[in-house]
């Protein structure tokens, strides 16, 4: 089985979010970039398929040179080959076209992406890739087993879970649950050394023009101070929630 894992290169979840260039671009100053958390659960699941079922695992990212340390980290964790499509990611359609091109040319059986990137939260790339390459698609995927050409997956739905089966090729939008938090791997020294010898391919972009573009960013207005209610005065809280906030 050939697996392609899509990696987003995103600000760490604790990052302070600021904008620059007259609020038209994200300010990367002092920001630590990481593998997207949703992608990391998928990558770890891919490692399981590699170790238990002999799958090969390639990773792909769409990004400029500054994204290389992030995909190199996936090589140190255990992926076989990394591909960087040399383009600045602007919108989901463009990123999906790039990944679809890699997926099609590489004849992958399974493409694992995160359900959304934690920067722009589009939540579109995996579904678009699936449609573009004519593969099945399962989103918000929290469990995945593959046997031969058949996949069994569990996806989260509003208020519960759904178990699905389908044929490969398959694209999933993964998230926590694919593996547990404690199963995530930190690269060890041996992995880091081995990663240096693994291929990191840089590919020219193929995508057409983006369909959606950010023009300007803003931050929510500062919030007023919290209204503190005395712990012995629950009636006041209920009154505020009812009459002021109109929330109950």
């Amino acid at each position: 089985m050939k697996i392609l894992v899509c990696i987003s290169h995103v600000p760490d979840t604790t990052s302070k979010i600021n904008f620059t260039d007259n609020d038209t671009a994200f300010d990367t100053n002092g920001v630590q970039f990481v593998i997207g958390p949703n992608d990391e659960f998928g990558l770890t699941r891919a490692m399981w398929f590699k170790e238990k079922q002999g799958a090969s695992v390639d990773v792909v990212t769409v990004g400029e040179k500054d994204a290389e340390p992030t995909i190199r980290k996936t090589l140190a964790i255990g992926s076989d080959k990394a591909i960087r499509v040399d383009a600045k990611p602007v919108d989901a359609f463009q990123v999906a076209q790039e990944i679809a091109d890699v997926a099609k040319n590489g004849n992958y059986d399974l493409v694992i992406a995160g359900r959304e990137s934690i920067d722009y939260n589009g939540g579109m790339v995996p579904g678009m890739v699936a449609k573009m390459i004519g593969a099945n698609f399962i989103n918000t995927c929290v469990s995945l087993e593959i046997e031969g050409q058949k996949a069994t997956a569990i996806r989260e739905i509003d208020g519960g879970k759904e178990t699905l089966t389908c044929d490969l090729p398959l694209v999933i939008g993964g998230q926590k649950g694919l593996v547990e938090e404690k199963d995530l791997r930190i690269p060890n020294m041996r992995g880091i050394m081995m990663a240096r010898k693994k291929p990191l391919e840089v590919k020219d972009p193929v995508a057409e023009n983006p369909t959606v573009e950010f023009k300007k960013f803003s931050k929510p207005a500062p919030k007023g101070d919290v209204k503190l209610v005395d712990a012995d005065n629950i009636d006041e809280l209920i009154d505020l929630l009812h009459n002021e906030a109109k929330a109950i």
Binding site: N121, K131, T211, V212, K223, K227, I234
Partner: protein, 320 residues
Amino acid sequence: MSILIYAESENKKLKKAAFEVASYAASIAEKTQDEVVAVTINAENTDDLGQYGVSKVLNVQNESLEKFNVESYSEILTKAVEEVNANIVVLSQSTNAKYLAPLLAVNLKAGYASNVVELPETESGFQVKRNVFTNKAFGMAEITTDKKIIGLSSNAFGLHEKEAKAVTVDFNPEISDSSIEVQSVDKNTDKVSIADAEIVVSGGRGLKGPENWGMIEELAEVLGAATACSKPVSDMGWRPHSEHVGQTGKPVASNLYIAIGISGAIQHLAGINASKTKVVINTDEEAPFFKAADYGIVGDAFEVVPQLVEKLKEFKANNA
């Protein structure tokens, strides 16, 4: 031209999200003079959409579509767009709508903006304001394609009634086969889901152990709320992953969010920031959640919550 909405239903009943996307589409249509058309799949009482500005309903009745199938559902919407020559499609951000929208975007070669929170601005191009960086910021996104898809964030626009009358017509496009098959659905039907909830009651590590969740559930029951939890609580296995809300968990955009024993890590606050009113109950007055909340009680959850449950029962009895 027309504006198409996907009006979702559950057990044949239209969901609140259906009326919210209808309200939003009707507001756009007021300016553009377009007609608002809804697609419903195996729903009843579809004429109710008229009260929110829908003038026509394409009603699909098909037993094989009883369970959601992303391929079939996105194909129906694609065909509906062609049928009524729609240039804008509005959908909710339910799990299923988010699942099918990217497929629809590729089918229609349409630009798709998700997590949208306001009506479009059309003075210079077609721009929509959407949440980015998990509610830590907003971005104005310009959709440059002829056909446009808008994913409307839950509770961002609200319900707005309009005097209109909807005509329901049968719509039965041919649907291709899909190899995706639903084997089983495990859904808690007697509890409201986080996505659909007006009120969410959430517990954190301050509750000390899973055995103490009784009072959280009781509070949720009095308020008709969904229950949720912080990341450490789900990581420790006190509560299921499906209840984890925050940046890597579920987003919450409820009218009221009550955090009990949650200190308010930046990732948690980001995930729940779209909620309108936030209440925190915590022993530690220095907890970061107090900076994000509208109302707060510095106090022990084990004393405050049982009192709150009792007082709310009285309040509900008096205001029923």
